[in-house]
Amino acid sequence: MEPIIREMKEEDIEQAANLLLRLKKFNSEHDPLFSLVHNVEEEVKKYLKQAVKEQFRDAYVAEYQGKIIGIILADIIDRLFYNPRKEVRITDIYVLPEFRKKGLGTELLRELAKIEKKKGCSVITVEFPTENLVATKFFKGEGMRSIISIYGKIIE
């Protein structure tokens, strides 16, 4: 299997939305604070449309035989007070179940890092629900470590 990793285009949005939606649903299993909004499908598409256009957000897809099988989305962040200043933060990464365990997640991650490095980013980070232990294992395996914690609760 040799998928192509490339920038997400407008015409990918329909397929990519399915993958992003699956990820958001999976996130919602981990914490009630990730309960999905009623129009999540609509929001997912809107978000992807923005990602394709905006400068501060990058989106890439893995395509195999005309099918989008993986996505990676990241924000470009200016770390005002810290060095290195420019950070690429992965907000969403997802590979369809059938195509897992073949190194595609790693490939998406490394390809993104390579591209963003050229654009001046020296730090790569990722956000995901604390309870997602599969993600913890994967990113640790990629040499990353926990560098910030976000705690939360519903305000009564």
């Binding site: 699956r22 649903k25 999976f26 299993e29 179940p97 059938e98 897992r100």
Partner: protein
Amino acid sequence: MKNEGEEGGKELGELAIRYSNHYHGKISSIPKVPIKHLDDFSIWYTPGVAQVSMEIAKDKELAYEYTWKWNSVAIITDGTRVLGLGNIGPEASLPVMEGKALIFKYLGGVDAIPIPIGTTDKEMIIKVVKSLEPAFGGINLEDIESPKCFTLLDTLSREMNIPVWHDDQLGTAGATLAALINALKITGRNKKDTRIVLFGSGAANIATARLLGAAGFDFGNIIMVDSHGILHPEREDMDNLMVTNPWKYELGITTNKIRKKGGIQEALEGADVVIAASHPGPGVIKGDWIRKMEKRAIVFALANPVPEIWPSEAIANGAEIVATGRSDFPNQVNNSLVFPGVFRGALDSRTKRINEQMIVEASNELAKFAEEKGLSTDYIIPRMDQWEVFPRVASAIAYSAVKFGFARISKSKEEFYANALNIISKNRNIIEKLIEIGLIEDIRRG
């Protein structure tokens, strides 16, 4: 053969209460060495026994020679999924585990000890069971909820040096495979091309799917169906399954190569075989759905106490072979055909583990036994009263343990058979003799 056996359950339950109250349990330990005088204990116990202990301290393997370890099995449960009763707790599981121990003894000549444990925590169970290794020749996990049972079986099999078995998975899967092998012979099918629907994705059917793969069936031709419908890689709950039930998740990827979607009805269209281990019927599988299966369909409706579809209805709708989990219909797929022989063979070879290929060998032996007796649509698997089948299964397991390099004792298949036959016959004779001379009281006589 219509709707029989629905009555009678209540009556049997009342008898079970009465007898349990009379006998106060079903098993006890009895000596196998002569005791004629208290002086005998200076050999069986201290001071003589110290020498035996010192020898074992020097070489732990001698525990198999000098103690009952060679023939002992721990029946472990946390009481979380007892029969069809659900989580009734360890104390309530004890009568069931005692019954299991009785079958172990009567059909396999095995000394099995019920050990319901007071924790449902996975890590704690692993610690407890691993710590029992010095005392037992094998571990039988019983009536433990899914998917915890998969983790326990996989972890303990990997980390212990005695065989670990989970009967709800492996026993049922082994018997199902044996029956299926013969059903394919009768209906002229081969393993590779047979399209199989597994209806119900609990411990038994997940284990069956894995065993079918090990036996040479094509995973791609298997379709698994659960309460959410047909399992396929893009089903909505697959990400969640990856975390909560990786065994089912894996099958979601490897089965169903045509990527069929829908429910049981769609799954059965064009299928050759359905193996149902879902909910008690009747009416869980409809006759109309059987009609949409291939000609000469094979229907295993294994739910207890009532199969998903009555055999008569399945046959009226075109099924050629029907198997159930019940003894009052032909073709009873019963895990008790498997585990006594499996443990007899595992103990006789002192195997360190039982892998899937060894279970396939046991299933082949069961199937061969039935074939030797003469296959028919009403006889695809040995009956429980054909007790010579147990040493046959034992010899298949023991000999395959030798082939895989797991056995501590190496013998020919024939030698293992003779040994198993001898042990099982001896134990049955002891029980019969004890009943005959009245030391086991039979209150059913009056």
